[in-house]
């Protein structure tokens, strides 16, 4: 495991060179984007296993096990989520992935009206991006 220094925040990029994370954040209301990014920076500065994220960073379970979500609420209680995976391991393993230190890899974002859930198809889309990200060695990220 790497030391307790801060981690990088990296954005997944698909095979066409698109960054679903950038596209999602660009369409979020300004305040929501600010909240989501603040949580990412908070966790990156005091990474796991240290407590950080102020309750807005949560491990996911079930079919989404291995992902972490960042939560924010927008106008009319619309819900916004960023889905992330952790890039951690020995320095040799990180170097194999093209990373100089551990990182939070942000995979995708989704939004939904208050009191509704994401569909299985939504989650499957996030998992598909996550699988694509993890299959790339070295990682293919937005530079």
């Amino acid at each position: 495991m790497a030391g307790r220094e801060s981690w990088d925040v990296i954005y997944y990029q698909d095979a066409d060179g698109r960054s679903p994370v950038d596209e999602f954040l660009d369409l979020c209301p300004t305040k929501v984007a600010a909240q989501l990014i603040a949580v990412l920076d908070d966790v990156a500065e005091a990474p796991p296993p240290r407590y950080s994220g102020g309750g807005r960073w949560e491990a996911m379970h079930g079919a989404m096990a291995g992902f972490y979500e960042v939560r924010a609420q927008g106008p009319n209680r619309e819900q916004f989520r960023l889905f992330c995976v952790l890039e951690n391991g020995s320095s040799e393993e990180l170097a194999r992935r093209g990373l100089s230190r551990p990182a939070i890899a942000v995979i995708a974002g989704l939004r939904k009206p208050w009191m509704t859930g994401f569909s299985d198809r939504d989650y499957a889309s996030v998992r598909r991006h996550g699988d694509d990200h993890r299959n790339q060695v070295p990682r293919r990220i937005k530079e």
Partner: protein
Amino acid sequence: MIETGHHRRRVEERLEDPAFRAEYERTRRELDQVNAIMRSLDDLRISAGLSKADLAREIGRNDAVVRRLFTAQVNPELRTVTALANALDAELQIVPRRRKQSSKTQRTAPAGA
């Protein structure tokens, strides 16, 4: 190595927007407060020589719940946080920030004060 500065550059660009900066800084302060409470509780737990499982038993909760709580994997509920504080012989307090003299105080201050 891959160049990993994209996020930092995007944040720097966005921080030039005053509305973004204000909300970013407000959120960071809010997160800092929750983080500080949870880290303080964990420090008290360690000082008391209690494992997370010990503490979970003290408050009648599953040890996995407390373990996930202290590793920021779940959103801490106030009731649980208060129970943890009680079990560690501590209490939560709200401390008003020191502010500049309020406009109300200024209006009611006697002339020449």
